[in-house]
Symmetry: C2
Subunit: 223 residues, 2 copies
Amino acid sequence: MGRVTTTRGNPGGPRPRRTAPARRHGGDAPAPVSQRREHLVRLAADLFAEKGFQATTVRNIAQEAGILSGSLYHHFDSKESIVDEILTGYLDEVMPAYRKVVAERGNPRATVEGLVRAAFASLAPHRAAVTVLQNDWSYLQGMDRFAYLADAEREAERMWVGAIKAGQAEGLFRTDIDPGLTYRMIRDTIRLAVRWAGPGGRLDTGALADHYVKVMFDGVNAH
Amino acid sequence: MGRVTTTRGNPGGPRPRRTAPARRHGGDAPAPVSQRREHLVRLAADLFAEKGFQATTVRNIAQEAGILSGSLYHHFDSKESIVDEILTGYLDEVMPAYRKVVAERGNPRATVEGLVRAAFASLAPHRAAVTVLQNDWSYLQGMDRFAYLADAEREAERMWVGAIKAGQAEGLFRTDIDPGLTYRMIRDTIRLAVRWAGPGGRLDTGALADHYVKVMFDGVNAH
DNA sequence: GTCTATATTCAGATAGAC
DNA sequence: GTCTATCTGAATATAGAC
């Protein structure tokens, strides 16, 4: 609607020259097809995990790889397609893990514990995805391309809340807590763990899961 | 350093004319000094609470107020000074509340419960600050101007962890959980509640605090 | 597969007229 | 106190040389 199409405008201009592209191999194997691409995704993921998707620029990613930003577009359509790959990789792991736990049809306590452990287990290999889901959720929500995120979230909620309600029905869990509220508390706490289980890797997620299961089931009170 | 000073460049160009600045008074009192300013801060806060600080533009804020972005700079130095005001307002409320709870020197269980309730109570009036602290923490950390955030966080951690450790020493809390880890779990879960206690205001924070205290102390298991 | 060069758009911010 | 007009810088992305 009434777009102004001035043919002017050139911010940027001559950019500072870098010294050299810092090659990191001197005649390696030809690389199957997209080993280079996967490497770039991993570099991007590290940056996304540090500061989120929106806060990371394609120049950041390119610099990390020792190339210029324009060169990234030989490998990727767009910045969005990079994060798409990262998010899809996460969901392709965690959702089947959830479904497997539910399909085992153990008692609800075992199911909830299994879900907690599955969630924690997926944190370490997918820090970037989890960080992006926290930081940039509302941004991604606005895009048709990422509608699958909300779908997955709905399915996950059904599984968790179902297990909690079943546990209440069987008298395993107290009935004076709200299942939906409890699910969100649990989910959020696990996701946030990615921040301090962070790059330093000070805490392994197995130990975190143990800690969390203890507190969640029995509370902080001494018996 | 070799800046290109083309005299060109005019993104924006002729902007669509708005109909009128939507005045909301027709001869009110002269307004003490900065009633207008406070109003603008509140508008900005709503936007920050929705999508964070970095994701909100000064043009967003101005549009919400029915003025142009340049006009905002009559009231504020910069976008940062707006968020500074918001964050300061939050800390000026929550930190004294924490200190008061600790100063009462009740038993550690009462102290922890008091801290939880103080934290929840501060959510509703300061949604923007809490959202910004979550979304833009790493961005703000990099700036000297916001060093006071880390200071406050350190003081808060000392109070919480102190209460948890005291409770363990008195045999009130189980000793097989890590105080620092437990504090972060609690803190993060409370902060995240701001998202779904959100704009709809579906859940009042008093009820949330009740729910949370129950689960935290006694766990989800039935007795 | 990378670089050069640049288009395009949008961000925060400013000067001065009204 | 707001608007007009614009600057400056930075972001995503593209075209074509090498």
